[in-house]
Amino acid sequence: MSTKKIKIVHYLNQFFGGIGGESEADTGLQTREGPIGPGIGLQQALGAKGEIAATLICGDNYFSNLIGEVLPEIISKIKNYDPDVVVAGPAFNAGRYGFACGEVCKAAAEELGLPAITAMYHENPAVETYRKVRGVYILPTEAMARDMPRVLPKLAAFLERVVSGMPLGPAKEGGYFPTGQRRLETTSTSGAERAFNMLLAKLNARPFETEIPTERFEQVPPAQPVKDIRSARLAVITTSGLVPKGNPDHFRMFNATEWRKYRLPDQPALAGSDWEVIHGGFNTVYAQANPNVILPLDALRRLAGQTFGELDENFYTITGVGTSLKTAKEAGEEIAASMRAARVDAALLVAT
């Protein structure tokens, strides 16, 4: 077996690349020789077995807005380095970063035929979207970046296995999210016996494991279109954590567990001095200066009575960053019930 050093190109966002936080999310693509930030830890875990030849750093917003331009550039740069494997992240629970890592890995696998590995929290939407792309592997992490010291050695060990061509084993054993690939195996118990044992376990409140897990994200059939928009009553939801000045209900910047309903002012627009934007996941400076960019009250007031019927007096708000699926689902159901009671016909959700 060859003892050639594994050559890696590593993709990071502006935060892990050491450039800055949300205000630097518009940073364009940068290339650095050698490892940066978490790459240094990954390099240490690999020792002499591997080497991060280059690190590509790109702002999360830049990537999201200009993906058509920057992704080909990223692929071209990776190709120039001629690595054995591409690593992106870890992205933990960061939505935009997870999306970028997923896209980079997918492109590396599909266009360059390179194995591509990333790591993120199981609720990161990117897991569902990218885990089944052939050649892409996603390792599980905790939600918070403090899990980094535990994840990096796992990433190192995993990428060695992938590059060496050694079998990874089923997802659970191999420590990666299921890729949707099926391998035929033989077992001594028949399907009927296994189903029966599962049923017995279920009836006796014992743990059991399904052989066919259903999709993580519920497939929700679209609602019927609004019959008569001209007479419809609309309500607005914002996931920006927009709250009255003083944050009376103590919204937190991360890990929201509650939503609130507040009255919209009887004014033609929202004024920045009356509101706060409690959100740790995006640069809130624009929204704070002019909250209409996250809750378009001025536009809605102008269009009410013409393009649509009327605007409900209240709006709904939650801080949508690192929000657990459970919280999001419950909040959605409760907000829908509240809207129904207020005879709202349709909702607009402005996401940040």
Partner: protein, 64 residues
């Protein structure tokens, strides 16, 4: 992040401007920023009237 919203299955997705200011463009003079906002809201209202059977993305026509 319209692509992300579509991926998780949101039925009607309207493309906003940018992540920190989805419903407007603070780099534009006030009356143009408001026009951008009206275009996005009008597109959302169109989307509400439109029957869809899968996650669908609606793009505002940017006259600004």
């Amino acid at each position: 992040m319209a692509q992300l919203a579509q991926q998780v299955g949101a039925s009607r997705v309207v493309v906003g401007r940018k992540i920190p200011h989805p419903c407007g463009d603070p780099s534009l003079p006030e009356q143009f920023d408001l026009k951008v906002r009206e275009e996005i809201v009008t597109t959302a209202l169109e989307a509400l009237k439109t029957p869809v059977d899968a996650a669908t993305v609606f793009r505002p026509s940017h006259t600004v």
